[in-house]
């Protein structure tokens, strides 16, 4: 009898720890996510750091969506749809063009100079 009651206690403790771990993971996931969302009325702050009405409301709305079963990725897509890409510190679209253009220009200049040097050497 005593052994079985101890087993029950162990099971209850295990379930409690498990549930707490899951909810802490959720809180951590959300607070990490808040750090990636730009506060549009602040200068360079995320909504995690900001206490503006905009940031407070956005945190509450995201929390509601998360509690209703939406994943962070789904929330992210919705946020970008509503506020545009500037809402996120991690833009969804890749910006290869932005990073690639200076390299392309440098490459063109390099080829141009190389050809000019060749031309002058020949003449």
């Amino acid at each position: 009898m005593k052994i079985s009651s101890n087993i029950y206690k162990l099971i209850i403790i295990f379930i409690t720890i498990h549930v707490s771990a899951i909810s802490f993971a959720g809180v951590n996931e959300l607070s990490d996510y808040f750090k990636t969302i730009r506060c549009l009325v602040c200068e360079g702050q995320s909504i995690q750091e900001s206490d503006t009405e905009f940031a407070i409301n956005l945190k509450e709305q995201i929390q509601k969506k998360y509690n209703s079963g939406m994943t962070v990725n789904e929330i992210d897509v919705e946020l970008v749809k509503i506020y545009g890409e500037e809402i996120s510190f991690n833009p969804q679209k890749n910006h290869y063009l932005l990073w690639g253009t200076p390299l392309i220009i440098l490459f063109i200049i390099f080829i141009f100079i190389r050809n000019k040097i060749k031309f002058f050497k020949k003449t």
């Binding site: 549009l40 905009f54 509503i82 063109i108 031309f119």
Partner: protein, 160 residues
């Protein structure tokens, strides 16, 4: 074409294609027509507790987010009263406000709104609100113009 010109010309062509692609993307985003959130018509009016009849609002109306704690809202209030006088229908969305303060504010400054909705922030989120005051000019459910911050006469004179 000279052999030594081929690579730079190709580079310029690649760049031109990239720039055109980028410009086309930007134009698409700017041309996207946004509709007013359905939540506006799914939230009961604060005073009569009934949903807003979309047809009764007509094809053109204004949605204004305000709060009693917001000072710039008070600055634009006379313009909203003027719009009401001119027959423009305005839906007021009271954003994250204390009910007593909001009622007192309306009593003190006048009510320019056809309907007032109380919002805990959900409508604001759906509409992409940045802060109060914010005003949306709606025609046939499409947001024609969005003014962030207080209204000025120049913003509304074309509608008066």
């Amino acid at each position: 074409m000279k052999k030594n010109l081929i690579i730079p010309v190709m580079g310029v062509v690649v760049l031109a294609v990239c720039v055109l692609f980028y410009l086309n993307q930007t134009t698409d985003r700017n041309n996207k027509q946004e509709e007013i959130s359905n939540l506006v018509f799914e939230t009961p009016d604060f005073y009569d507790n009934e949903f807003i009849d979309e047809k009764a609002m007509g094809e053109f109306y204004v949605v204004n987010f305000f709060a009693s704690w917001c000072k710039p809202c008070l600055a634009e209030h006379p313009l909203l009263m003027e719009m009401k006088k001119q027959g423009i229908k305005i839906i007021g969305v009271n954003f994250r406000d204390d009910e007593e303060n909001f009622k007192e504010w309306i009593k003190e400054h006048g009510n320019p709104f056809e309907h007032i909705l109380r919002d805990d922030g959900t409508i604001a989120y759906e509409m992409g609100l940045i802060g109060v005051p914010e005003t949306y000019f709606i025609k046939n459910k499409i947001i024609q113009k969005k003014i962030q911050g207080p209204l000025f006469y120049e913003d509304i004179e074309q509608y008066l």
